[in-house]
């Protein structure tokens, strides 16, 4: 895991309801300080001089209350607690509501090279956004070799050995109006303990694909912005493999298989590939089938249920007909055995 510094926090590119609106108003040399914890601390107790169990590895948030207290300390000329605060190894201090630190606080922060950040958001809103952003940053992650596409709203991760046709399949899916999230290198993160989010390993490079015979192509330019997506939850894993006639493939699909990434299980299908098999259609259908399952309808199971019901009714009818026509009533009837 790379180190995450205060500067990286300022550089986080978050949009609209996730934006942190941060700016640095002092202590710039300290921007290289590392943030190690996804938590926040309101340093009310610390400002009062109580430093037991002080969460010094956390970002220190100064809201209206803390700032008012700082002003009172300023008036009374007390700076001991503030000096003590900056003797601790803290990543940065942060003022919400566009509040300004008091002059003495500002000086002490500058002296200890502690970055002072400011946002115009209210404390509670800012806290929830920051925790969300940081838990994404600190989420366990790994990079895997595969292609992530969004098909009918379902995030489908296509896996398989190189040369099996992952990118070609994804290209056909994009051509059919689905979206490409990442080709070849998919970075997956486990968020909130049970959600797997996938995105391109290097988003600065945009959405490109390598197709054998064509080379590198730009999906955004060729198919438009409607054909791409930045991040998507992984909801289905499809592994393509060369058809092996000795292997037994699932012919019914009533059994639910799953594959585990970062401790999260995702529905998993193994699809054998051979010339003439239209893989994109199979993936589209798998995605729709996955949606049906989410709605509580399991095609294979329901089908088997109706087969069972039908067999039963057939048996019942046999009993009825035999009772009518057979004079010596046979007790060892099929229906009884079933």
């Amino acid at each position: 895991m790379k180190t995450f510094t205060v500067l990286d926090l300022l550089d986080l590119d978050l949009k609209e309801h996730n934006a942190l609106d941060l700016k640095c108003i002092g202590g710039r040399p300290g921007l290289t300080r590392e943030i190690r914890s996804a938590d926040l601390n309101r340093p009310g107790l610390a400002l009062n001089g109580f430093f037991d169990a002080f969460g010094n590895d956390r970002i220190q948030i100064f809201g209206r209350g803390e700032t008012a207290f700082l002003e009172q300390l300023e008036e009374e000329g007390k700076t001991d607690a503030i000096e003590e605060l900056f003797r601790w190894d803290i990543p940065c201090v942060l003022f919400t509501h566009s509040l300004e630190p008091t002059p003495s606080f500002y000086e002490l922060a500058e002296e200890s090279n502690c970055p002072i950040l400011q946002t115009d958001l209210p404390s509670s809103e800012f806290s929830s956004r920051l925790i969300r952003a940081l838990s994404n940053v600190f989420a366990p992650q790994e990079t895997i070799h595969g292609v992530l596409v969004e098909v009918f709203g379902i995030g489908v991760l296509i896996l398989g050995a190189s040369g099996v046709g992952k990118s070609e399949t994804a290209l056909e899916l994009v051509e059919r109006g689905h979206r490409l999230v990442a080709d070849d290198a998919v970075e997956i993160r486990c968020v909130a303990g049970n959600i797997l989010l996938g995105q391109g390993a290097n988003r600065a490079l945009g959405h490109h694909m390598e197709i054998r015979g064509l080379g590198i192509i730009n999906i955004t330019h060729l198919f438009g912005v409607g054909a791409i997506r930045d991040t998507k939850q992984i909801q289905l894993v499809v592994e393509l493999e060369v058809w092996d006639s000795n292997k037994i493939y699932d012919r019914i699909g009533a059994e639910e298989r799953s594959k585990e990434f970062l401790g999260v299980k995702v529905p998993y299908l193994q699809v054998p590939v051979k010339p003439g098999r239209n893989i994109p259609i199979i993936i589209e259908t798998a995605a729709m089938n996955e949606r049906l399952k989410k709605m509580g309808y399991y095609s294979a199971r329901e089908f088997n249920q109706s087969v069972l019901k039908w067999l039963e009714s057939e048996n019942a009818r046999n009993v009825y007909f035999r009772q009518k026509h057979d004079i010596d009533f046979d007790t060892s009837d099929d229906a009884h055995e079933a």
Binding site: H145, G163, A201
Partner: protein, 88 residues
């Protein structure tokens, strides 16, 4: 499993052409070949994967191979890096 530490010695870093050379070379071997940079692991037979590693000048990578011809594969890939992909 054979592993070797390598350094990117050509000025331009691993851009499209070096990546293509790596993929071509890796493709000649049976073994599974992986390039590692920091915590990222990338299949050396995937061109987009190698480019997205963003390995610039002087960055350190590890090449690892697993399979029947693993030591030859690692040597072949390492040789590409040592020859600076026939670049500056």
């Amino acid at each position: 499993m054979t592993e070797k530490e390598i350094t990117v010695r050509n000025r331009a870093g691993i851009h499209a052409r070096p990546a293509a050379l790596i993929v071509q070379t890796a493709g000649q071997f049976e073994s599974e070949i992986i390039l590692k940079k920091d915590s990222e692991e990338i299949n050396a037979k995937s061109i987009m994967g190698i480019i997205t590693l963003g390995a610039g000048y002087n960055s350190k990578l590890t090449v690892a191979a697993d399979g029947s011809d693993e030591s030859d594969a690692v040597e072949a890939i390492a040789a590409l890096f040592e020859n600076r992909f026939e670049e500056e």
